[in-house]
Symmetry: C2
Subunit: 245 residues, 2 copies
Amino acid sequence: MTDAAILVIGNEILSGRTRDANIQFLATELGALGIPLAEVRVVRDDTADIIAGLDALRSRYTYVFTSGGIGPTHDDITSDAVAAAFGVALVRDPEAVRRLALRHRGEDLNAARLKMADIPAGASLIDNPVSQAPGFRIGNVFVLAGVPSILQAMFHSLKPSLAAGAPLQSRSVTMVAREGDLADQLTEIQSRHPEVEIGSYPTFAEDGPRVSIVARGSQAAVLEQVVDEVHALATRLEAAVIATD
Amino acid sequence: MTDAAILVIGNEILSGRTRDANIQFLATELGALGIPLAEVRVVRDDTADIIAGLDALRSRYTYVFTSGGIGPTHDDITSDAVAAAFGVALVRDPEAVRRLALRHRGEDLNAARLKMADIPAGASLIDNPVSQAPGFRIGNVFVLAGVPSILQAMFHSLKPSLAAGAPLQSRSVTMVAREGDLADQLTEIQSRHPEVEIGSYPTFAEDGPRVSIVARGSQAAVLEQVVDEVHALATRLEAAVIATD
């Protein structure tokens, strides 16, 4: 089965300064391609931590996407760490230099910026239409920028190279109910449809408790059947259905 | 050094349905206590994945916080997995039953809800002032609900039991500049202050490129010095400083 993982390289996430925006974007895009996101790790800007996380994920999942740490400053150590994980040298890529030169002319293309053209030997470039400095792919690992607008643009560049699976679809029913009142009947629905993954998510809104039942799977007809059974459950509980998506 | 990790148990995060809100909350709270968050993992609602993630994190970091999977429905498997990771039985806790009975009377306290009173042998309860169903602590692991309002209330309940470190402080300077123009001088500032962690975060705003330089450390005077040096750098670059926090 095709699946994926994300390695977020980011002291700014771990410090709480920034709320990550890339996980949800990649999760949604990958899900739509039928490539379920199976694990995420957020590690420090630390070479050993990056290598350990990358090695664990790339050996287990079909694809790994990293975010962050490929800029020009001293805290950008991802490319080095990825090269080390793959046991290859970091080499200056002429095509990457050419792209950087489109944006930065003369003295502007200084040593710090040229660092962004150093990629692991054997890697291929990923287009960055926003700010030119490319990402890269090596093996099953895609190395992307952390800035959301750039990560998103890079993902759209690389998307055609992914081997898509059976797209996962999702249906949800939200009702005015408490989880504990429907748990047993929901377990029965799940048991009848083992090929569907059914989740139950309570919220505690001002106007009372609600629960969203989310069914995910690759067969639309089975999902429709689950929705029907959840509606019947709501009727039995006399729970108002607020939304069916 | 005291540090911490988070294990998010959440198909809803990995599917993209929900954007996690707990990482930033815990990161900020822990940072203020001088307990830096060193790693986060997001895993599926899968017993083996939860155990593997938990074992890796609890052996490495001072504290581990889990979020999600302790409700009454079939997809709530965290307590089982934590008990298995610690090699202990899951036992019904009389005090947890008593608390659930405060909220759920008679038939309302059904088998599904009573499941929320089953905790690993030897664990101690964590108060849940929102919906009574407690979290628990076993060893260095704190098992919390995934619903943000409940997770936050539980964290405030357990906070006094944490051994705080030297609180990390953070200063930041945001200027109108491009990272590549200040990278070398920033490297020099970082080299002069190895006890401070300096990060550089670019944004590509509508009105042009900006960069935020963030310095984190435990000594206010050193951070002030770093801020002064970053201001001097901005002056040399003729870059407008937008904010100093």
